[in-house]
């Protein structure tokens, strides 16, 4: 009797926690969505209205038509840059990870230890030198600046190496007996067995790049080359004071692709993030 009672209380506590946390997590998003469907007058009112009584798409119409807001283009830039960056990371990091996981070569320990140490460095130390390099290469305000500087992703090498090492060596042995080259062992044996890890890394890297603010802010300057996070910052600084629902509409517009992406790939994303947390940084 006493036991089941305390069990109920404990579960009640957990559900109560779920409820409070659920509201905490979703309220800001729901609220932004709701107020983006209001007019300026409705929003600037006390008490703040939570539900749109007469929803309107005015702010979204303005968002898509305003001359200084190229939000669809910004979204396209973000998606393109993130996709290109992700491909670059996978193509560059996977072979490197294979070399660390499976091949023997002089200098392996030293090189790997060196990579481990650099993880401790804040990425921002490279900010100014890489900016100056982009400037000298005339890469400023081009996609090159958004793709190459981060493409040698140490974290990606660690994650994939960890995964490759878990693949049983026996699976490669048939290929070795057939006299397959190192490349075909990597390409025909390891890569097909690693689609999960590669997808997980791809999703993580894509999202990280898609949400980055400072670097794209520094290396782009024309309205046409901005990415979505930078565009949102511009939107906020020019319109927050006078047209709040427009700013919220921008936030909603940027959120929808992510939420849809998340709903489709939730399991992969969760698994990928968890893997990255366990694989070490």
């Amino acid at each position: 009797m006493k036991f089941s009672n305390s069990n109920f209380v404990r579960h009640f506590g957990t559900y109560f926690f779920f409820l409070v946390m659920g509201i905490f997590v979703t309220f800001p998003i729901v609220f932004a969505f709701s107020q983006s469907l209001m007019t300026n007058q409705q929003v600037n009112r006390w008490p703040p209205p939570i539900l749109p009584i007469s929803p309107t798409l005015d702010s979204f119409r303005t968002l898509f038509t305003q001359q200084d807001l190229k939000i669809v283009l910004w979204l396209r830039n973000s998606v393109f840059a993130a996709a290109a960056y992700t491909s670059a990371v996978l193509v560059i990091c996977a072979p490197a990870a294979y070399a660390f996981a499976r091949l023997n070569f002089p200098g392996k320990k030293i090189l790997f230890g060196f990579l481990l140490v650099t993880v401790m460095l804040p990425a921002q130390v490279t900010l100014i030198p890489n900016f100056l390099l982009m400037k000298d290469l005339k890469f400023l305000d081009t996609f090159h600046a958004l793709i190459w500087p981060g493409a040698a992703n140490v974290f990606g090498v660690f994650l994939l190496r960890q995964f490759f090492m878990q693949i049983p060596r026996e699976l490669e042995e048939a290929a070795i007996i057939d006299g397959a080259s190192f490349w075909s062992r990597f390409w025909h044996v390891i890569v097909p067995l690693s689609t999960n890890a590669l997808t997980a890394l791809g999703i993580l890297v894509f999202l990280g790049h898609y949400n980055d603010l400072l670097w794209p802010f520094i290396v782009t300057n024309s309205l046409e080359m901005r990415t979505l996070p930078v565009g949102l910052q511009i939107l906020n600084s020019s319109y927050a004071g006078q047209y709040r629902p427009l700013v919220l509409a921008g936030a909603v517009f940027a959120t929808i692709p992510i939420i849809v992406f998340y709903i489709i790939f939730q399991r992969r994303i969760i698994r990928g993030v968890t893997m990255s947390g366990m694989g070490g940084r």
Binding site: L103, F105, M120, P122, L213, L214, A254, G277
Partner: protein, 309 residues
């Protein structure tokens, strides 16, 4: 984990292989590594060295001359009030955010690993904010925390509290950014804690329960001690990430009021891209790197040297 599994995993027969095969293997390895090493050398190694080198110059991007000034940038940094304010703000922000994030994410992880209905739904829901860009987070929370029409102040009015100027008060601005950042960032450590919790053998709990341990004893006697490596990972990565905070102040406060929410990276941006002082900016970033390294080492000492990492 990474370091230990280490490099030399030579298979036993290797010593017997003919020389040319080993050479071939090494050659193949270098080719596999080449693209990575080339880009890494350019964008990381070269960049880090250049940052240190440039920090000895008075390099203003708009001026033709770049005189060597030795340590004078660092001397200036030492006497720079804004640098010290930014550093203080960043440290306070980091400690509060990491502490809050760790507590919230651990509680959430414990809740969603309970074998009850709906736990996987809430796991997915709780991770959602972590996917948003700092732009979305900043825009949304900037409005929620607004002093005039903010819904947070409205909520507090039910508790009989006067409206507060969250982002406009020198005292409240950092806690407000901390609160926002916890909301945004607790998802990742939550998933890491979930993985850590699932790695604890159920047997231990059963044995302890048979011995009559209650929930609190299980938490402090088994869960927390066994989560030590996870805790170390979460706090170290959290410190590294939050020390580099930029977007929240840049979007929500512009560093204000006054300089109350200047952070180091925010200041770095101001120095390098508003005042165009690249040399001094490099000194700021090198100093940041040294401080962060110190913080990381201190954490390793505090949380436990034995934890695998």
């Amino acid at each position: 984990m990474v370091a230990k599994t280490g490099a030399a995993r030579s298979n036993a027969g290797n010593g017997l292989l003919p020389m040319n095969l080993r050479t071939r293997e090494a050659l193949a390895a270098y080719l596999f590594l080449a693209p990575f090493i080339i880009l890494f050398s350019i964008f990381v190694v070269r960049a880090v060295i250049t940052a240190q080198y440039l920090s000895f110059f008075d390099w203003q991007i708009l001026k033709p001359k770049r005189p060597f000034v030795g340590l004078s940038n660092y001397r200036e940094l030492f006497n720079d009030d804004v640098w010290w304010i930014s550093l203080k703000n960043t440290i306070v922000f980091t400690i509060m955010t990491v502490a809050g994030t760790t507590i919230l994410s651990l509680s959430a992880a414990i809740a969603v690993t309970k074998p009850i209905k709906g736990n996987s739904f809430f796991r997915i829901l709780f991770y959602m904010p972590a996917l948003l860009s700092v732009g979305v987070v900043g825009l949304t929370w900037g409005w929620l925390l607004s002093s005039q029409f903010g819904v947070i102040n409205y909520g507090l009015s039910f508790l009989g509290l006067r409206p507060l100027n969250w982002l406009g008060s020198e005292v409240l601005v950092i806690p407000s950014l901390v609160f926002t950042s916890i909301w945004w960032g607790f998802g990742f450590p939550m998933l890491v804690f979930i993985a850590g919790l699932q790695g604890i053998p159920e047997m231990l709990y059963e044995a302890a329960r048979i011995d009559g341990a209650d929930g609190r004893q299980l938490l402090f006697g088994i869960t927390l001690p066994l989560l030590r490596p996870t805790m170390l990972f979460v706090t170290v990565t959290g410190v590294i990430a939050h020390f580099q905070v930029y977007g929240q102040p840049a979007i929500m406060t512009g560093g204000g009021p006054g300089r109350a929410s200047y952070t180091v990276i925010f200041y770095l941006y101001e120095v390098a891209w508003r005042s165009f002082r690249m040399g001094y900016g490099c000194a700021v970033s090198v100093a940041l790197a040294v401080i962060m390294a110190a913080f990381t080492i201190i954490q390793f000492k505090l949380v436990g040297q034995q934890a695998e990492y």
